[in-house]
Structure formats: structure tokens, C-alpha cells
């Protein structure tokens, strides 16, 4: 199982804080992003590469990062703290 989390306006527009997918659902960040984007317009827009960052197991990740069973993947907009 892979845990997927959303933050900030992405969480609000999708209406999800997070969801679980099978470990076989997507083998890389790029594939996961593509499959989630296919779920509808809000998803396609919210998950557009470039405007949305991704972290795997709480570390910033690239699109080709490989996903494994038990991973935590988070999508979020550029950060604005401080």
C-alpha cells in the first residue's frame, strides 16, 4: 500500500487529505501523478507537474522516483511559510 497526501489548496480543491492506493497502482512518482490526474478535471489541474511539488517519505522527490510498498507520497503547492 502507498499513502498519498495532499496539502494546502490542493487538499481543498480535491476534497481529500489523502488516500491509499495499492503498491501496484503506480511504480513511480510520474505514473502516480498521471493516474491521479486522470481522475477528473480538478485532479488534472491540481496535480499538474511544475505547479505541484512532490515528496516521497517526507523528502522532496523527482518525477522518476521509484515507489515501493509502504511509501508515503505527498503532493503540495510551493511552500510559503516563514
Amino acid at each position: 500500500m502507498i499513502t498519498v497526501l495532499f496539502f494546502a489548496h490542493l487538499k481543498e480543491t480535491l476534497g481529500y487529505e489523502g488516500l491509499h492506493v495499492e503498491a501496484t497502482y503506480a511504480s513511480s512518482v510520474a505514473l502516480l501523478r498521471q493516474k491521479l490526474a486522470d481522475k477528473g478535471e480538478a485532479w488534472a489541474k491540481g496535480l499538474a507537474c511544475g505547479s505541484t511539488l512532490v515528496a516521497v517519505n517526507q523528502t522532496m522527490a523527482k518525477e522518476d522516483a521509484v515507489l515501493n510498498d509502504g511509501d508515503e507520497v505527498a503532493f503540495f503547492p510551493p511552500v510559503t511559510g516563514g
Partner: protein, 147 residues
């Protein structure tokens, strides 16, 4: 040391912790960020700060570690608040001690520049026009890139 919490912090107490039993560091630089009343053309009443629990702490620790690698520092303290904050409230504290002021200034600014672009916090403003998520500024990325 790193802290992420809703509660306010005590600036004076944090300063005391930076200098207590610390006779070798001649320079202390602190930064505090406050909720200000005006941003991007709108009057602001308050802020909500969302974060990514776990990753936030890890990223602040990593930024602190990087600063200690790049400069000769004594103590480094980072506090970032989360949740609902009102106008004028303290948001973030960075305190750095060093033997020399140049290192303390640079490290403190570096930490803020990195925090602004790397630590997973998001601000939602309450303005006279309603709520809105703040968008990341390109200038913040440019400031982080200069290091």
C-alpha cells in the same frame, strides 16, 4: 534545536538560551517574522499556517545542519508556529550564535531563505476580501538560489 507548534514563543527566553553559559560566541543574530497588516494589496486580519507534520521538523533540522556545515556556528535555534495567527503575532524565530558576526548574519539569513523555499508550511490569509492561499514568491526562490 527545532520546534514546530501552535503556541507562541518567548523571544526573551530564546535569547537567554542562546547566550547562557556561552562565553565563546561574541555574536548573536536573531530573526523574527510577524503577521503584518498588508500583503499583495490587501488588508490582512490573520493567517492560518498549515504544515506537513514530520516533514516540517525534518526539513528544519536539515536546514540547521546545512547552516552548521557552511559556517562556524555556536548555537542554532529555529521555531515555527502553525495554526491560526492574528495580526501582529510572531510566526517564526531564528537565532544563531557565532564567534564572528559575519557568520551569524549569513547563517541566519540563509536559514530563513531556505526555510521559505524548502520547509513545507503554507499560509492562508484572512483579508477583507475573504480567505486566500498565499502564492510562493519568485523572489524567495531567487534569494535561496544565491547561497
Amino acid at each position: 534545536m527545532i520546534s514546530v507548534h501552535c503556541e507562541d514563543f518567548d523571544f526573551a527566553a530564546e535569547y537567554q538560551k542562546l547566550i547562557k553559559d556561552n562565553k565563546s560566541d561574541g555574536a548573536v543574530v536573531t530573526f523574527v517574522g510577524l503577521v503584518r497588516d498588508f500583503n499583495e494589496g490587501s488588508s490582512v486580519n490573520g493567517l492560518f499556517l498549515e504544515h506537513y507534520p514530520g516533514m516540517t521538523e525534518n526539513s528544519l533540522k536539515d536546514i540547521s545542519r546545512q547552516a552548521k556545515e557552511r559556517w562556524s556556528l555556536g548555537r542554532v535555534r529555529i521555531i515555527h508556529r502553525i495554526g491560526q495567527l492574528e495580526l501582529g503575532e510572531q510566526i517564526v524565530f531564528v537565532g544563531v550564535t557565532s564567534m564572528h558576526r559575519k557568520s551569524a548574519f549569513e547563517a541566519c539569513e540563509f536559514i530563513m531563505d531556505y526555510l521559505k523555499t524548502q520547509a513545507p508550511f503554507w499560509k492562508k490569509e484572512t483579508t477583507q476580501d475573504g480567505e486566500r492561499w498565499i502564492e510562493a514568491k519568485q523572489s524567495d526562490q531567487q534569494q535561496a538560489d544565491k547561497w
